[in-house]
Amino acid sequence: MSTVEAAAGYKASRTLPIWAEVRRQASRRRTQLALGFMALLPVIVLLAFEFGGGRRDDDNDGGGGGAFSSMADLATSGGLNFALFGLAVSASFLLVVVVALFFGDTVASEASWGSLRYLLAVPVPRARLLGVKLIVAAGYSVLALLTLVGTGLLIGTLRYGWSPLGSTIAAEIPAGEGVLRLLGITAYLGTTLLVVAGLAFLLSVLTDAALGAVGGAVLLFIMSSILDQIDALGDIRSALPTHYADAWMGLLSTPVQTEDMAKGAISAVIYATIFWGAAFYRFTRKDVTS
């Protein structure tokens, strides 16, 4: 009896089932709030368009506003454009914060509650713990992204109707294909957010302060965006994780331009691999002292 390696019913590969982790996170207020806000944002945008009053300038002031202002002008032209607008306004900050929250909070908060050491004492193998946390955080991030797009599409279509995806420069894209383009844009944004996901996750492993991990990831992301604005840096900027953040606009052209998206995806995947690799390397070796 005493020579059995583990307690009855214990199997390392059965510890911390994904569903258990999903429930652990689902019960948290911040998960609920983040997801709720993703659903709420399109509603807020819709209300802003409805009650914002005043016409937006329609005097074709040309270059100044560029793609972005034209996207705002088009937002009320149909559900697809409305969903796209919601996505575009969230891409540079809101989604970054949400993804950083899901990935940065997951390990660090367990550490700060003290529950991490009990999970490790179960024992949940460290690599498995990280793997499960990573998968669940990724799942929630995808859910958040889809919630944002889905709600936008739904209420946008209910309010503004179902019409082709418009863009001021290229031809309108038929609604059916427009849905595919929108999904493509969503997928690309998800891919670029891998950088944030990787960084936040690494920080989450390195520190016990959940806020530090989330804030740190967002901070570095913003810093990268700022550096990307400095033309003097030249080609170095292509190596910045945020350099290709706007490449999804290539999907609004006809035919689509995907070169920058491919570059952006390469950059994001490499960064994420490095960050996640470092997180696994560190966590499987470190002394858990909290």
Partner: protein
């Protein structure tokens, strides 16, 4: 505050050698990468600045040679645009030199540091200069020659330089290939299209030529000419003044412009010609290149045409376009100059706006190709029906206010020219004819044509005909800002009597989408042109048929698709790496030590020679060895910081020991070892998810173990926690004691065979402590074992069967509690006269006497009965206030605590 700083200290990596070295290495690699990225690349060419002789002038020149050349190389003469110098074409010259050509750049006469006056590419002046440069090239030993005095040479240039290339090739048969870009065919036609003077562009260039007077031209000190003419030659200057004043070139002017037009020499051009023309060019529109192409082709010379989205208004165009132009140029030169590569085919390539560039918010284009150059009338046509009646429009005096079509010389953003924004018409001065919304999109590539009838009270009218693409929202775009000016004479006063005139609009490349409408606007003024000074009211009627030339092409494969393969490659490598890692892990997992140490197989816990040194050199514990047998409740006793928690952390696999082994039931314990599943733990206080109730927390914990629900023994655990109904409240609202009890219950879930509890009574009140003692004692009776740590002597004494006393990371005592707690041979005596008492005691033959404080003595009795000691002291007249028997554990423990527990640090 201290909590914050502690948090900070934990969050920030401590600096020590182990961390500094890799960090410094990483930093060095990053810095090296950054330096490598911005390093100035070694030049693949050498250059020398020269002053070469032109025809009576001295030309400022620079000669580039490729650095690694094998013998002689062909040469390329690069000519600059109007107002430029040899420096304006520097990057082109450098990239050509990198491709292995000898490159000669020079500043044309009348510009920069070259002497002489501007003769507008006159065959007698600028073209002769270029011929002399060819002579010079022929003398260079590095340059390939076809015959004596005949260098193997191509001429490349844009605009002013492009016309020079054409004119030189027409005049000097030594030229082997030319690549004229965005240039003219007939200067008169370009500057006075349709008989209307293009005043903005002409003025812009005239100003440019005059400006060189002050900008260093005067520095050479010979032409201090007329301030009105600057460095222009007198005849050119006169021609301009004449044309700009009247708006109609006279005979002399026409002749002069004709002289400077490649149109005159096209039939003499034998050098294969690659014509590159921009679609966003209101100065030299696509029709100019078309005329050149036709003229050269008529002479049987190979000619190829390419259009790009750019030009005098649009600039270089998007990156894909400039890449394509560069590629075509190099291909042309390689074949016709180096004699390498296949013959560039007849394929005609062009580009059309596709949308925004994601990166710089400007436009991006897609390239298309067709088998042959179709000219500017397309390969097909689509007719669009326009509606609208004859309308009167007013000509403003002196063309003011005037409509805006493009902004010559400003070099506006491509996007504003191609997506509306710039163009503006003045009410009352224009009339519109519009089509119905298109049912399908039309790929327009070429010059649309439309007929109109006009009437004027003066018999003359100057009109500007434009084609607008109007989207469903009403936003209208004048594609590339191009207009067709037309000067009509001999008009009747009544429009019904007017004869239709066919107007050929400027060639455009644009997809007019389905749902858009096409609008023809006829205006009386345009700020870019000179219109009649006298006011008048014309009547204009546009015929209903607008003919749009169309062109179908195959999209050019985007070279960017290679990046998708790169992405697939990266993903493949990552997946492969992951698989390899997993395989390695599996192998290592199989090889790991799973042997059971037989002698410990039935012992819940054996710790042997445990040592833990932290990264900063601090040794938390060393030489810790003890055993926990079944049925025992072992107390790990020590002051704060003695190393108890470190020991337990190692025990739970949270911390890696530096040395030593731990066996749980004979299985070697490493981080995450499955054997830990037979151990229940409370280490360093409770850790719960604050947003869950106590019950949910226990449930979540058990779910994480992945073990069967029935094994948890929930009811028993909950009973031990004794939280009653509070078990359903959120744990964040729990008191410290409640959390502690819940944590103990969690540790007991599944009734593990070894229970490890760190300070279990922390936060409990006395009755609960008493209850906990009973629970722990009962727990160990069933063949299970308990290890508790505590800094309280009494607790260990009352709860445990065995004790291990640690201090400063070392074991100072261990054994059954009864053994070490049992009476110690020493007592503490409080007496009235310490010196006297000491004497008496020494006479009694005790082992030792130590003075402690003013009235206390610690006496090692050495077998002497306590009663005897008291009797002797009293007999000696010494008052005995107190006699306290001491115990061994206390002896050990208190001396430790009393000694110094301070400064031993957090272990």
């Amino acid at each position: 505050m201290s909590a914050l700083s502690a948090g900070l200290r934990r969050a920030l990596p401590r600096l020590n050698r182990r961390r500094v070295i890799p960090a410094a290495a990483a930093l060095a690699v990053l810095a090296a990468a950054a330096v490598w990225a911005v390093r100035p690349a070694a030049d693949a060419w050498t250059s020398e600045d020269l002053r070469l002789a032109g025809d009576g002038v001295e030309l400022d020149a620079r000669f580039y040679l490729p650095a690694d050349r094998d013998g002689k190389v062909p040469a390329v003469l690069v000519a600059h645009g109007f107002g430029g110098t040899k420096d304006s074409v520097r990057s082109d010259a450098e990239s050509l030199a990198e491709q292995g050509y000898a490159v000669l750049t020079y500043t044309a006469r009348g510009f920069g540091r070259s002497t002489g006056q501007i003769h507008l590419d006159s065959p007698d002046h600028e073209v002769k200069d270029a011929s002399l440069l060819l002579d010079w090239l022929a003398t260079r030993p590095e340059v390939t020659t076809d015959a004596a005095g005949d260098p193997r040479v191509a001429v490349v240039g844009g605009s002013y330089g492009g016309a020079l290339a054409l004119l030189l090739a027409g005049q000097d048969q030594r030229v082997d290939a030319i690549v004229p870009q965005i240039t003219w065919n007939d200067l008169g036609q370009s500057l006075v299209p349709g008989g209307v003077f293009k005043k903005s562009w002409a003025g812009y260039f005239f100003g440019n030529g005059a400006a060189t007077l002050t900008l260093g031209g005067s520095g050479r000190g010979q032409e201090q000419g007329d301030p009105a003419c600057g460095r222009f030659a007198e005849d050119v200057c006169k021609a301009y003044l004449q044309m700009a004043t009247t708006g109609v070139p006279d005979e002399t002017t026409t002749a002069l412009l004709r002289e400077s037009s490649p149109a005159t020499v096209l039939d003499k051009i034998k050098a294969p010609t690659l014509l590159i023309q921009g679609a966003v060019d209101s100065l030299f529109p696509l029709s100019e290149a078309d005329a050149n192409a036709k003229g050269i082709a008529a002479a049987g010379t190979p000619v190829k045409v390419a259009w790009f989205t750019g030009g005098h208004d649009g600039g270089e165009g998007p990156g894909t376009d400039s890449d394509r132009v560069k590629y075509l140029t190099l291909q042309w030169l390689e074949h016709y100059l180096k004699g390498e590569g296949e013959t560039p085919g007849d394929a005609f390539t062009w580009s059309r706006v596709a949308g925004f560039s994601a990166m710089d918010r400007d436009l991006v284009t897609n390239g298309y190709s067709a088998d042959a150059y179709p000219g500017i009338s397309g390969t097909g046509t689509t007719d669009v029906t326009l509606t609208g009646a004859a309308q009167p429009i007013a000509n403003p005096p002196n063309g003011n206010p005037g409509a805006i079509s493009s902004l010559p010389g400003i070099g506006g953003r491509l996007s504003s020219l191609l997506s509306g924004g710039v163009a503006m018409d003045i009410p009352g001065q224009h009339a519109n004819w519009e089509s119905a919304p298109l049912t399908g999109s039309i790929d327009v590539a070429g010059a649309p044509t439309v007929s109109l009838r006009a009437a004027s009270p003066t018999g003359e009218a100057t009109l500007f005909v434009k084609l607008y693409d109007v989207d469903p929202n009403g936003t209208s775009t004048l594609s590339a800002g191009l207009v067709a000016p037309i000067r009509l004479t001999g008009l009747p006063a009544d429009v019904t009597q007017a004869q239709p005139v066919t107007v050929t609009l400027p060639a455009i490349v644009r997809e007019i989408e389905a749902g858009h409408t096409v609008r023809i606007t006829v205006a009386t003024s345009d700020q870019a042109f000179l219109s009649p000074a006298t006011p008048a009211v014309y009547t204009v009627a546009v015929e209903s048929t607008l003919t749009l030339p169309t062109l179908a092409g195959t999209p050019i494969a985007d070279p960017g698709s290679v990046w998708w393969y790169a992405l697939a490659g990266v993903l493949g490598v990552i997946v492969l790496g992951l698989i390899v890692l997993l395989l390695i892990r599996r192998v290592l997992h199989r090889r790991r030590d799973v042997t059971v140490v037989g002698e410990h197989a039935d012992t819940p816990l054996v710790v042997k020679g445990l040592r833990k040194a932290y990264g900063d050199g601090f040794v938390a514990v060393q030489e810790i060895s003890f055993t926990v047998q079944r049925g025992q409740v072992v107390g790990l006793l020590g002051p704060n910081g003695a190393g108890k928690t470190t020991t337990l952390r190692v025990l739970m696999g949270l911390t890696q020991p530096t040395a030593g082994e731990i066996y749980v039931f004979g299985h070697r314990l490493v981080s995450g070892a499955p054997i830990l599943s037979r151990v229940g733990a409370l280490v360093e206080g409770p850790g719960f998810l604050p947003h869950l109730s106590g019950y949910e927390n226990l449930k979540a914990y058990w779910l994480a173990t992945g073990r069967p629900w029935e094994d948890a023994r929930f009811e028993e655990a909950l009973e031990i926690a004794g939280l009653g109904e509070s078990v359903h409240r959120k744990t964040r609202k729990y008191s410290h004691g409640m959390r502690q009890r819940l944590a103990i219950a969690q540790a007991m879930l599944g009734l593990p065979e070894l229970l490890v509890l760190d300070e279990p009574t922390d936060g409990l009140d006395p009755p609960q402590i008493a209850e906990m003692r009973r629970v722990l004692q009962r727990y160990a009776t069933d063949g299970r074992a308990v290890l508790v740590s505590s800094h309280l002597l009494a607790e260990v004494e009352q709860t445990c069967t065995h004790a291990v006393v640690v201090n400063k990371g070392r074991i100072v005592a261990s054994g059954p509690v009864n053994d070490i707690v049992g009476d110690s041979p020493s007592v503490q005596l409080d007496v009235s006269d310490v010196p006297a008492a000491t004497r008496v005691l020494e006479e009694l033959g005790v082992k030792s006497v130590q003075t402690e404080g003013e009235s206390s003595l610690i006496v090692d009795m050495n077998g002497t009965a306590r009663s005897e000691v008291v009797a002797s002291l009293v007999t000696a007249g010494i008052g005995v206030d107190r006699l306290v028997p001491r115990r061994r554990l206390e002896d050990a423990f208190l001396s430790l605590v009393g000694d110094n527990s301070r400064g031993s640090g957090d272990r």
